[in-house]
Symmetry: C2
């Protein structure tokens, strides 16, 4: 097992009706920036309940809506300006990974003497950030208890991630009731996203990681059971609760301890959704099966374990490759059965930009830890995904 | 799933050589109380390395050794006095659950205007505590990242637990190298202790707890594999690393979220080790199989799941009771194969004090949540354990 340090300070407030506590949780802050996306939280009535809770607690707040999927640097800049000008001392993100990631970037930018984009292109390191809190409206990105954020810059079609201990949310409110109004496809994208967070950690070159292997497998199994249940009946609270907790644990990094995650698939997907209007989770459902297939010989025995323990492929000692490939196939079929695309063609992406995407993916050097991928590898994976 | 709030702020520093960081971690504190047990940390050289690290970092410290298994209120009182008189602002426990629990009680007592024992007999609630940090020398109690402590008072042979968010360690150093010098029997007791922490949480009346069920099962499986490996070869670092991480996660309470733990077996065991010189883990290896057997009809299907998922008992739809009992039997055999007692007779405890122990166990009312146990129930379980 690799040496590690683990600390995750985020307080998780989980369950029915919990969004109504937000005002009392934020008492004592001088000015809160309420940050969210478009109309969905207004349509659902969540916006109203949050505002009511803040007002009842006497919490002063200003607002910045308009976060879009693949949250933009432009809006982050606007948020940074607002925080500085108005003395914001807490950002409350209400939404999914996009709103939360945008809030985290604003939180860093507000206390940084320069352009926060620097952090995303390895030109600086975050030393401090405003506190962030969240009310989660989709189980997916795990940003509600992670130290990371992903931001897109229109100029150069760049989508980049950054991690810092300063951006763990102070608290996150997870109420599975809030996800009832989401369309099935968004649930499916979220399920693919959390699955990918687990797979990125599962495929490691670190030796002797059995407990964390098993914890990841346990979470994948849970997703295997409850993902389809969520899609089949959008009113199934208990299924959505299992999935919401799974999505949070998939990315709070506990299951990454003692091992070294890969993350190449995320990088590759970022290049797709930087150019095409593709949901991150959908892109991952396309990229990951291709990545798995391309790399299955790198450590065949790990793929056999994945197939047997997660996908219940019958073990047979003489056929490791067949078993490994069957596990990959079942993972792919799982995505497909959720209604997700599993090829670039399914997303109407052709081979036009593959070369450019491969180049950009490796612009800071080879990507991935399970296997270091150069431009040609990335290109091959994208071709496998066609 | 039940609503819940989760936060565990303890920073875990895990791996080889990590005890040498302790000095730099404690820089900035004015006076540290170094708290430990008997000679083992001096014999192993750990004491010397810790002192060297503290001195090199310029950390001022005083010492209080002499913690015994089932840590005593008397020593806690002495520690409290020292902290107050000498302006201690951090307690560093070096040892196992006993040293850590003792440190936590001292930490609470130092900032409490009264006898800290009040907390343990429901006469007061902790409002603040000195910070505690730990260097763990045995994988067992999980106290290194828990909010709880158990203290024994000679007068009245009382052994009682208390939990407070104020006593989560600030950081805990977990180096599996440090457990290499332990005798096999102590490892076995530790393995029983962490197993019990998982079983206490597993057997719940809360409905719909599948993800946390599976995470507990994953950890039990890991213990199933690596527990015997530790005992078979005390020099097996990787096995000890898996077990040490398992013991920590078994009790950091993440796996208790969304459910309500039982904890009757712990209460019953406390009554045994309050009277007899019995290691806590050994007592649990005796009590838990009896508790499982006594309660298996309370929710037979949960016991079937335990047997099938954790102990690989072959599922057969018409025989739930046989399957449930086979799971319990395998758990008991697991303890026995580790070299642990599995009956009171194995520990040279006869039926002399059963009635008194049963009375004391329920002195604040029925115990347990999976099934509320009255005095007669506790007496029956103790008899089953004879």
């Amino acid at each position: 097992m690799e040496n590690f340090v683990f600390q995750n300070p985020t307080r998780i407030i989980f369950g029915k009706g919990t969004e109504n506590q937000v005002g009392s949780e934020l008492k004592g802050y001088k000015k809160v920036l309420l940050h969210y996306g478009g109309g969905s939280i207004k349509k659902s009535g969540l916006y109203e309940r949050v505002v009511k809770s803040l007002r009842e607690a006497g919490v002063d707040f200003i607002e910045l809506g308009g976060v879009k999927p693949n949250p933009s640097l432009d809006l982050v800049h606007e948020g940074v300006r607002m925080c500085r000008e108005q003395g914001v001392d807490m950002i409350l993100a209400v939404g999914g990974g996009s709103a939360i990631d945008s809030a985290k970037a604003i939180a860093m930018g507000a206390l940084y003497d320069g352009d926060v984009w620097d952090f995303f292109v390895q030109k600086g390191d975050c030393q401090a950030a405003l506190p962030v809190s969240t009310i989660l409206t989709i189980a997916a990105a795990g940003s509600e208890s992670s130290d990371s954020t992903v931001i897109s810059r229109a100029e150069g079609q760049m989508k980049r991630g950054y991690s810092s201990k300063h951006i763990y949310p102070k608290f996150s409110i997870l109420n599975p009731e809030l996800t009832e109004t989401l369309p099935a496809y968004q649930h499916a994208c979220g399920i693919a996203d959390m699955t990918a967070h687990l797979l990125e950690r599962y495929f490691t070159q670190a030796r002797q990681t059995d407990l964390s292997d098993r914890l990841i497998e346990a979470t994948l199994k849970t997703i295997q059971v409850y993902g389809p249940r969520v899609i089949a009946d959008l009113s199934d609270y208990e299924a959505r609760a299992e999935i919401m907790w799974a999505g949070c644990l998939a990315h709070n990094n506990l299951f990454g301890m003692g091992r070294i995650g890969d993350w190449a698939s995320h990088n590759i997907e970022h290049e797709i959704s930087a150019i095409y209007d593709v949901a991150h989770g959908a892109g991952l459902a396309v990229v990951f099966p291709a990545w798995l297939k391309y790399n299955h010989k790198v450590d065949l025995q790990r793929f056999v374990q994945f197939a047997v323990r997660v996908w219940d492929v019958d073990y047979a000692f003489g056929e490791p490759e067949r078993i490994a490939l069957e596990g990959i196939e079942r993972q792919k079929r799982f995505f497909k059965n959720l209604g997700l695309p599993v090829s670039l063609a399914d997303m109407n992406v052709n081979d036009q930009h593959l070369d450019a995407m491969a180049s950009k993916a490796v612009m800071f050097g080879p990507i991935g830890q399970f296997k270091k991928l150069n431009k040609e590898d990335v290109h091959n994976i994208l071709k496998l995904a066609l």
